[in-house]
Amino acid sequence: MSSLVLPDVDPTVLARRDRIVTALRGVVGDRWVISDEDELRAYETDALTAYRQMPLAVVLPGSTGEVSRVLALLDEEGVKVIGRGAGTSLAGGALPLADSVVVGVSRMSRALDIDTANRTIRVEAGITNLAVSGAVDHLGFFYAPDPSSQLACTIAGNVGMNSGGAHCLKYGVTTNNLLGLTLVLMDGTVIELGGQYLDAPGYDLLGLMTGSEGQLGLVTEATLRILPKAEGARPVLVGFDSSADAGACVSDIIAQGLLPVAIEFMDKPAIHICEDFAEAGYPLDVEAMLIIEVEGSQDEIAEQLEKIIAVARDNGARHVREATTAAESAAIWKGRKSAFGAMGRISDYMCMDGTIPTGRLPEVLVKISEICQSYGLGVANIFHAGDGNLHPLVLYDVNDPVQLEKAEACGADILKLCVEVGGCLTGEHGVGIEKRDLMVHQFNPTDLDQQMQIKTIFDPQWLLNPAKVFPLEGRPDVGKSRHHEAA
């Protein structure tokens, strides 16, 4: 564990462990409470593996009612709660605390109701992102947000982090595709927000919940918008001699009134790593590459790609490969989609997630490279260029404490740069534990205080995922948790 500071462990909670575990078993049944050290190990971290912490216990409720009773019990006991979907957070959003109980929604994974005429699906929150699209695929529909981890990540986590993906330039992120939620508050109260209709009434609590990183409540069900699939989709791959040319190409495409469904960027190190792994046929002699995908009928696709290729050539593209078959399309995407896995084969990495105004792309890429050099660390850049959401992968050795510390400092410098140029710390991964202490670079104390007051009304004791999002310093004094007799 690095220098990260976690909230004080409450020894009275640790002392009551047996009582708490027994009470949880009473709610969900013995087999759905994990307290054995070996089994708990699976929950000690998420996709930000640099940080690990064993929780007090893990509970896997099977229904909204059970989640409600579990939270009411833990609220009464004053025990911290970490909500968990599939544990794919790259920001440490699901990292446990020693005195916390992890509440996982993985058992609640059914699609409950599919209504194509009204273009909605009702799901339990533990369903995976890809399973939502899978449930409606045969009907000609899909669910638009498509984070890279979509095979594993859950709707609960997607709501928690307002997940995006490669195609959100056209289709928006989770908050734009969510119609309703069943939500359990820390005291066990179950509330319904929105439903199978547009524009939920009252204050936009759906919007507030989305991206709230498990700070306000636990999501158990969701009503999502599903969309009819396009007639077809096809990418073109274009390579450039410089990142600046690629960046200018992105701006020009948008300025021409074209709106591809995805514009993905990879720099030279990323291209090489992905090509080694996926043999996607990427050009190895270019400095930067874009994958640009458009949708429509065959004629529409051809017309749009022609315009895009013309813009690319005007910006100095010297490698252009248009997919003409489904197999070629799949090959182009295969490299990109396996990028994080491919990278993991050659090095540990920290995946940054800042967003910048797209016009600042060329200068930011230069500065990222300079920052990484100054720490003596390698970097590969892969990101959603259309919306300015950067994913620099800072390469380091996880077993070398000095390198870990350097990587963290390097990542922090990159994210500060994103804020300086008018962007933000996180586009889709969330603040989690990773960027908690950087929040002061984006928000002043008044901004943060307003957010924390909202946190407090939902969670008066600050029991929900309390190590995350808000810097430890400057938090409201929520009073000492109630006194409990040690068991």
Partner: protein, 395 residues
């Protein structure tokens, strides 16, 4: 009633702090064109934001525009049109309901009321395009949330919370939107003579097709005119030729479709967004009902069977605009009962002050949600200075 005219954000802070120290509530206004929307506010003074005027950022290649909250919507739309772009959500003026000069409608009011037009069915609501806000809360503090980039999950999303809060959580000072390229052209398919259920089925089939229907409305027959069921497509000229043909063929079961092209199509949707199908609304109360499209004909029938109503459907049927006599409860009991059984919510968008003071304007919320609503108000505006009671009594 005193009228405060701050010229900048610091003066807004000062005005709110002064009002708070006097315990004198403020009614917030922009261009003054939406004051009839929501419950009447008992205020000691009006806080006019029309002095906060001007586009502060426009980057066409980044699809982003920011403006001070009092900037006229017309000015923003004109600026975007120069860049071949637009606000995706079709913001309406609604001056037929609220009077006033449509050119004065401010962008802040669009956000505060979360107003979206026919394209909402495809491109999302005002709140979906809104990516950044600055606001002055009821303590006279400026708070910012979001920013100028379209992907941002840094901290709690107060941007969404501001949209549709009717100024009860903060006086907006600056708003930032994601914008989109305006299409080269548009075309609208018009089917005639369908009954409500056939019409909604037709709209659903269109919206379930791959040709990206960007607006879908059904206008009831009246005065010898047949019912008309309309669907809009937008894009490049060549695309429109292909898509309108493909869509018409897919929907031949609903009859032959006429096609409106270009400006004719645009004019038709502008009229629908401004509620012209409701006819004259003087002396009428107008309800806005959001429900599941499939349930909408039942809701409409329940209202029409009980009351002399004029209504039409937008958003694929999921939005019903209904004009009812402005008498008694303006049909509140009937409308709310119809919505309660179908799922959804209803807003009394316009009615005389005395009716809006007497009946719930917004859909009553279950107590746990109302409790959160009151507590949220506490965090932004503990002394109830900003538009108190505009949405709910005591909020």
């Amino acid at each position: 009633m005193a009228d405060l005219h701050p010229g900048d954000e610091a003066s807004v802070e000062e005005a709110v702090r002064a009002a708070r120290s006097k315990a004198e509530p403020l009614e917030i206004s922009g261009g003054g064109t939406k004051r009839g929307y929501g419950r009447p506010v008992q205020a000691g003074a009006t806080l006019s934001l029309s002095g906060l005027n001007g586009i502060t950022l426009y980057e066409p290649s980044e699809l982003v525009i920011a403006a001070k909250a009092g900037t006229p919507l017309a000015e923003i739309e004109a600026k975007l049109a120069e860049g071949g772009q637009r606000l995706p959500f079709d913001p309406p003026r609604l001056n037929r309901l609220f009077g006033g000069d449509p050119d004065k409608a401010s962008i802040g009011a669009i956000v505060a009321c979360n107003l979206s037009g026919p394209r909402r069915i495809h491109a999302g609501a005002a709140r979906d395009s809104l990516i950044g806000v600055r606001l002055v809360n009821g303590r006279g503090e400026t708070v910012k949330s979001g920013g100028r980039v379209m992907k941002n999950v840094t901290g709690l999303d107060l941007v969404k919370l501001m949209s549709g809060a009717f100024g009860t959580l903060g006086a907006l000072t600056e708003v930032t939107f994601k914008v989109l390229p305006a299409p080269e052209t548009e075309a609208t398919l018009v089917f005639e003579g369908l009954d409500d259920r056939q019409a909604i089925a037709c709209l659903s089939d269109g919206l379930c097709s791959p040709w990206e229907v960007t607006a879908a409305a059904n206008l009831l027959g009246a005065g010898g005119e047949p019912a008309r069921t309309l669907m809009r497509l937008e894009g490049f000229e060549s695309q429109m030729a292909y898509r309108s043909k493909a869509l018409a063929e897919a929907l031949t079961g609903y009859g032959a479709a006429d096609v409106l092209r270009g400006a004719d199509s645009a004019a038709r949707w502008a009229a629908i967004g401004e509620l012209e199908p409701l006819g004259p609304v003087d002396g009428r109360a107008v309800w806005k009902v959001s429900t599941t499209p499939g349930a909408a004909p039942g809701v409409a029938a329940a209202i029409s069977n009980a009351i002399d109503a004029r209504l039409f459907y937008d958003w694929g049927g999921g939005l019903i605009w209904a004009s009812l006599p402005a008498q008694g409860d303006a049909g509140a009991a009937t409308v709310r009962a119809a919505v309660a059984s179908a799922g959804g919510h209803a807003t009394l968008a316009s009615a005389p002050d005395e009716i809006r003071a007497a009946v719930d304007v917004f859909e009553p919320q279950p107590e746990p949600v109302m409790a959160l609503t009151r507590k949220l108000k506490d965090t932004f505006d503990p002394d109830r200075i900003l538009n108190p009671g505009r949405m709910y009594a005591g909020v």
